[in-house]
Amino acid sequence: MISEAQQEQAALYALDLLSAEETAAFEVELSVSAELRSLVRELRESGAALAHAVEPQTAPPALKQRVLQQIAAEAAPRAAAAPGNVIRPSAAAFGRWLPWAIAAGLMVACALLARERAQLQDRVAQQEQATDAARLRAAHAEEAAEVARAETERMAQESRQIIAAAQTTPVLVALSATKDGPAKAQAVVAWDAARQSGTIKINNLPSAGNGRDYQLWAVDAEHKDPISAGIVRVNADGTTVVEFKPTAPAKSVQAFAISVEREGGVPKREGPIVLLGTA
């Protein structure tokens, strides 16, 4: 079930209207929801269809020629860099001896031709066998390509996680409900360690109740107690997006947590933790 808030994010995401941090947070949600991914694809298709609504123009024919020339120029170095096309430095020096080399080559070629013919016959037989093998491989190619695509996607996802874990910003932390929290509540923290600030996006978290507030905490390896990152108030539909800064430097954040505290918050956690996620 996709909430209205998620639909809203999906629409903004489909039109590339979210900020970098919002995009990162939403992509975490996307990664765990096929339904949401499907909605984003539909909305992106609908958004892109707006391109049909503009007054039609015709691209100048000369533009295609320029583009194709540029493509060809880009393709040439690739082809030249292919192993079979590498020109060795000695080839240039050999140019001085070219006439002699041609003469010698012709003599040698005559002797070699007879042997070549026999070898070619063998190769034709081998090629026929290879063609049969290729047909078998082709039968499985589509399946293999799909597996490869899935593997590539998985590796890309892992790479992003590794890079994020290493140092790039923001680091994304998904928070889920503890036994004391509402089962459907979810949150994602985008944490920028260098700037010591972050953004938390929350879904399905009901109001903390009268005289109570939710409080965000950063659990840091260098601090004995969790560091307060401020009060978090949710909207009537259980969602919110809040930017935060911990009250003390958090250089080695291990987790983020949300607890229910007295209204206005407390300097040191007292209440139950309802959402928790490890970095």
Partner: protein, 191 residues
């Protein structure tokens, strides 16, 4: 929106482009160029700059064809979003944000006017092509929803800037974009 057979054909072309096939790129160019040129022209309004933009877009497609993911979007949508992003980058680089904000209302009116003319014409005859379908679907949207998604798509303004420019609360703008896009999707499905 795009016919499945056309999507499959486009996908096959992109796979060949990813393998360095220049002939496939030429075919893909023929498929997309006019639509992308028209979109960039709508955004930039300057033919020379549009040509430069389309050249950049083509290079990006050539270089990044291997990263195209058919599960995320059709080839057409992928190319459209690249074009839109490039054109918006140029708008921002030109420092036209302020000027565009001042004239955005006129542009939107112009865009809606274009939509209206085409949609009216398409009522007379059967709706046969993609352009007529989109224009017709747009006409079914409430005016404020249509204006919201057109401003979001055809200008470089963020949703916060649209809210500021139109004097509407941010939540209202977001809701209009959401509802407008959902209704456009449904409208395109129905046609």
């Amino acid at each position: 929106m795009i016919e499945p057979s056309q999507q499959a054909s486009d996908y096959a072309l992109v796979k060949r482009v990813a393998a360095g096939d220049q002939e496939a790129f030429s075919s893909l160019y023929d498929r997309l160029a006019n639509a992308l040129f028209s979109l960039a022209y709508q955004l930039l309004g300057d033919a020379a700059e549009v040509e430069d933009t389309l050249q950049e877009v083509c290079l990006q497609i050539w270089r990044s064809a291997a990263t195209y993911n058919a599960k995320r979007s059709s080839v057409f949508s992928w190319a459209v979003m690249i074009t839109r992003a490039r054109a918006i980058d140029r708008l921002r680089a030109r420092g036209r944000r302020q000027r565009l904000a001042e004239t955005a209302a006129d542009e939107v009116e112009k865009s809606v006017g274009v939509s209206s003319r085409w949609a009216d014409a398409s009522h007379v005859s059967a709706i046969k092509d993609d352009a007529a379908r989109v224009r017709s679907a747009l006409q079914t949207l409430p005016g404020d929803h249509r204006r919201a998604i057109e401003m979001a798509f055809f200008s470089e303004m963020t949703h916060a800037e649209i809210a500021q420019h139109t004097g509407s609360p941010l939540g209202t703008v977001k809701a209009r974009i959401r509802r407008g896009l959902l209704r456009l999707r449904d409208g395109l499905d129905d046609l």
